[in-house]
């Protein structure tokens, strides 16, 4: 179908605690701005993956309707964020010999070498979500950003590949398509968050973005301006709530309230011996719980999450290159003291992320939960830029989605 330069870009994130849709458009000056936001409480998602399809469908419909109303535009296609424990990332290298007589590298060579880099032996049930170019190498010379026009005999490229299980990736796509919406592309949530919160300077210096979601914690490492490592850990805010519910012997809903109202990632001296009481539905005092226990349970779980991430990134040896430090986004970053805890575990400066270079609804942008959805809109805008630069017919070759769905 023809879709000549759509005026709005929509990012849809189907998360474990909420489904949210963010609508963005290019202002006349070419700056991306957010014009609409819709969200709904998510009931059918656990640990980032869909467990109840009908509930998810309804929640997406609510969120899209709200966003359409606020943006005053019709939403036809979205950029969908995907996540889950099955998503992995690794680095690969592709090689290509230059065949032209004068040994000059042209665009076709670049496309060929990227194609070679994509030819990886993945397990049959896995599908590639992203192939991100890192650096080129010309005859062994490293860190080439753009080899077109250079001379050489061998061209190699390092790429970072993000892949996941095909069936699990299809579930959210099917849910969206059942609402008569097109899926322009799928994006790994962690990557979207990092697009939203990192400036070019941070990417150059080297930084780690940790998205502390309710179901899944995603992390992305940037180094020298390129992605070096990605990953997803299926432990999130829901696990903290579950721990509290079991440890303090309260219900899940009550545990969630207590976590938000009194929780913190560290146990400090002022909390010792204090009791917190909460009321039941008739507003009469029901029980009191020990504040120190609450914080200790949360602290231990957050320590474990950071510990696992630190260990994995430590194994890749990238921890020493993160000069800009660590950025926390997502709902979990609202926890008081979480930045200090992360500093203690990683030994690097930690700061709470804020969205960069996107204007619009200021209240939205300030909240860490929407970093992913805003990042999806940014990703969409890059795709459109690329399309426009190619000077194409305006055909949106939904190659990835086509491949995915043709696998049935």
């Amino acid at each position: 179908m023809f879709d000549p330069s759509p005026s709005i870009i929509v990012g849809l994130e189907v998360g474990t605690s909420k489904v949210c849709a963010v609508v963005g458009e290019f202002s006349p000056g070419g700056v991306l701005s957010v014009i609409g936001l819709g969200q709904a409480r998510s009931r059918g998602v656990r640990k980032g993956e869909i467990v109840d399809g009908t509930a998810v469908g309804e929640d997406i419909r609510t969120a899209i309707a709200e966003a359409e109303q606020m943006a005053d535009a019709e939403i036809r296609s979205v950029f969908l964020g995907v996540s889950g424990a099955h998503i992995r990332g690794f680095n690969n290298r592709g090689r290509h010999s230059i065949v032209s007589a004068d040994r000059e590298i042209c665009d076709d060579d670049v496309l060929d070498v990227v194609k070679n880099a994509k030819a990886i032996n993945l397990p049959t049930d896995h599908h590639v979500i992203h192939v991100v170019r890192q650096h080129f190498l010309v005859d062994g010379q490293e860190d080439i950003l753009n080899p077109v026009g250079m001379l050489g005999a061998n061209l190699e490229v390092d790429v970072h590949v993000v892949h996941g299980i095909t069936n699990r990736l299809q579930n959210p796509i099917r849910a969206v398509k059942s609402l008569q919406l097109e899926v322009e592309d799928i994006v790994f949530n962690g990557m979207a968050s990092s697009l939203a919160v990192l400036s070019t300077g941070d990417k150059e210096l080297g930084s780690l973005v940790i998205d502390l979601g309710a179901g899944v914690t995603e992390y992305v490492v940037y180094c020298d301006g390129i992605i070096k490592h990605t990953g997803a850990l299926a432990v999130g805010g829901d696990h903290v709530t579950n721990d509290l519910a079991y440890g303090l012997k309260v219900s899940m809903g009550r545990a969630e309230d207590l976590k938000i109202a009194h929780g913190a990632a560290q146990v400090d001296e002022t909390a010792k011996g204090r009791m917190v009481s909460f009321n039941n539905e008739h507003n009469l005092p029901e029980r009191s719980i020990n504040l120190e226990h609450l914080r200790r349970i949360m602290c231990v779980r957050m320590e474990e999450i950071f510990g696992i991430i630190a260990e994995e990134i430590g194994n890749t040896g990238l921890l020493d290159y993160l000069r800009a430090g660590i950025f926390l986004c997502g709902g979990g970053s609202r926890m008081p003291g979480v930045a200090k805890l992360a500093e203690r575990i990683f030994g690097l400066p930690v700061s709470l992320a804020s969205t960069k270079s996107v204007s619009g609804l200021v209240s939205t942008l300030a909240q860490p939960e929407f970093a992913t959805a805003i990042g999806l809109v940014k990703f969409g805008s890059f795709q459109q830029d690329r399309q426009r630069n190619r000077g194409g017919l305006g055909f949106r070759l939904k190659r990835t989605i086509g491949q995915l769905l043709n696998r049935d």
Binding site: R46, K47, V51, A85, L233, A234, V235, D238, H239, T241, N242, D243, A245, Y246, G247, M252, N290, H293, R296, I297, V300, R301, E303, E304, G307, I308, A310, E311, G314, N315, G317, L319, D320, G347
Partner: protein
């Protein structure tokens, strides 16, 4: 090797054989050493030490020491290395008597529990103080054993490295890879014990037997000695026509050497080849060429011997040592327990109680990247004072502290609440859906 006609009397006298003693510490250690005794290793004296009186009585070892009789009343360390350590310190005098008078002491222990991890390093330290060369032969827990045991094992391994001259590790998980998964558990432990026996036998032969190309005690000392050095050993046997080639294949694919990786990373290698009377120069050359190629840059010490009892079999025992560079030890020292490494007769300082809890991470592989100032110089009295304080003071204080540190027994199945019917998140054999504070045994009182 021809002696001159006017040779002095010393040259004609045979070498005095070094006195070797093998001590099993803890349940796994007692088991293994009992196995060795039954396997008929000769030329060694055996001993055992444990805090569990019943297990000690069951074992058939000649020399036995019950550790911490007053502290634990003979009931064992309960999987807590701090209790194991305190128990060993209580009976330090008897342990000193046990280790005295021998040239080489082999401490055999299984790490992860209480006595082996806690008392083992103390015994090694005491033996070293009385002048013996101490070789620790330790087994590391399986991957499916809990995270807490793994952490305790790693910590104990570090203590062993400081307290003894050489540490040879036998990771149980690697041995498990050698066997079929459906092996019975008793068979599995028997096989790990067999490996330990082979290790000790190999070292014994290296040290006592006269070979055609001789390797002796001093060579072993030179290869395995070194602060913070880690050693791995492997044995292999082959027979028949192309036994040299088969032997090499077996060695290179040996799980204990991680398919040859440890060999290429080794700094020093001790090789002992033993064959029947038909051992030829060509076979020795083939084997040694490959080994030299596999471990380039390492110091290789080779010995060869002929044992008529072997017939047409060719066996090889190999000990590979990796010495960690001093910067890494300094970083480890700064981040985990206080260890003095400048002082050659360094005290093995007991680790703080906190470090045996969840916050410890084994960061051995990370390259040194930050400066950590060296540990302060302490006088002997101060050191003893600190040791006493860390040991917990009087036995009564220690008992109270030990009792409070016991974690929550997971007697009930932990309901997973929200995650009950969903695929669990498994990381390193642990189910991350169960609350962390329960898995880490954080007491809420």
């Amino acid at each position: 090797m021809s002696t001159e006609p006017n040779a002095s009397i010393e040259a004609a006298q045979p070498k005095k054989a070094p006195a070797i003693r093998v001590v099993g510490v803890g349940g796994a250690g007692l088991n293994a050493v009992g196995h060795m005794m039954r396997a008929g290793l000769s030329g060694l004296s055996f001993a055992g030490a444990h805090s569990d009186a019943r297990l000690l009585a069951q074992s058939t070892l000649p020399d036995q020491v019950l550790l911490g009789a007053r502290l634990t009343r003979g009931l064992g360390a309960g999987g807590d290395p701090d209790i194991g350590r305190a128990a060993a310190e209580e009976d330090a005098e008897r342990l000193r008597q046990l280790c005295g008078g021998c040239d080489l002491l082999v401490v055999v222990a299984g790490l992860g529990g209480g006595t082996g991890s806690g008392a083992g390093p103390v015994i090694a330290q005491l033996a070293r103080e009385s002048g013996a060369l101490v070789l620790a032969l330790v087994a590391l827990p399986f991957d499916f054993e809990s995270q807490r045991r793994q952490q305790q094992a790693q910590l104990a391994l570090r203590h062993f490295k400081t307290a003894s001259d050489a540490v040879i590790c036998l990771p149980n998980q690697k041995v498990a890879q050698l066997m079929d998964e459906n092996t019975a558990l008793t068979d599995a432990f028997r096989i790990t014990n067999d490996m330990l026996v082979q290790g000790v036998r190999g070292i014994l032969h290296l040290v006592t037997r006269e070979g055609l190309i001789n390797v002796d005690f001093a060579d072993l000392c030179r290869v395995v000695r070194g602060r913070q050095a880690e050693s791995y050993f492997a044995t292999a046997e082959a027979r028949g026509e192309s036994r040299a080639r088969e032997l090499l294949e077996r060695l290179v694919s040996h799980p204990l050497l991680e398919n040859g990786r440890l060999l290429s990373e080794a700094d020093a290698v001790l090789v002992s080849l033993t064959g029947g009377p038909s051992l030829t120069l060509k076979e020795i050359r083939q084997v040694m060429e490959q080994i030299n190629r596999a471990c380039e840059g390492a110091q290789v010490v080779m010995g060869a011997a002929v044992d008529p009892a072997l017939g047409d079999a060719l066996t090889i025992t190999l000990v590979a040592t990796k010495r960690n560079p001093p910067e890494e030890t300094r970083e480890e020292a700064g981040s985990t327990s206080r260890m003095e490494f400048d002082n050659p007769a360094s005290e093995y300082n007991a680790a703080k109680a906190e470090s045996s809890h969840g916050s410890d991470r084994s960061s051995g592989e990370r390259p040194a990247s930050r400066f950590v100032p060296p540990a302060p110089d302490l006088s002997r009295e101060r050191v003893e004072e600190l040791l006493l304080k860390q040991g917990g003071g009087s036995p009564r204080q220690r008992k109270k502290a030990a009792r409070m540190r016991q974690g929550i027994l997971p007697l009930e199945v932990v309901p997973k609440g929200r995650f009950a019917k969903i695929e669990p998140t498994v990381h390193r054999g642990e189910d991350l859906d169960t609350p962390t504070y329960i898995r880490r045994c954080v007491a809420l009182n």
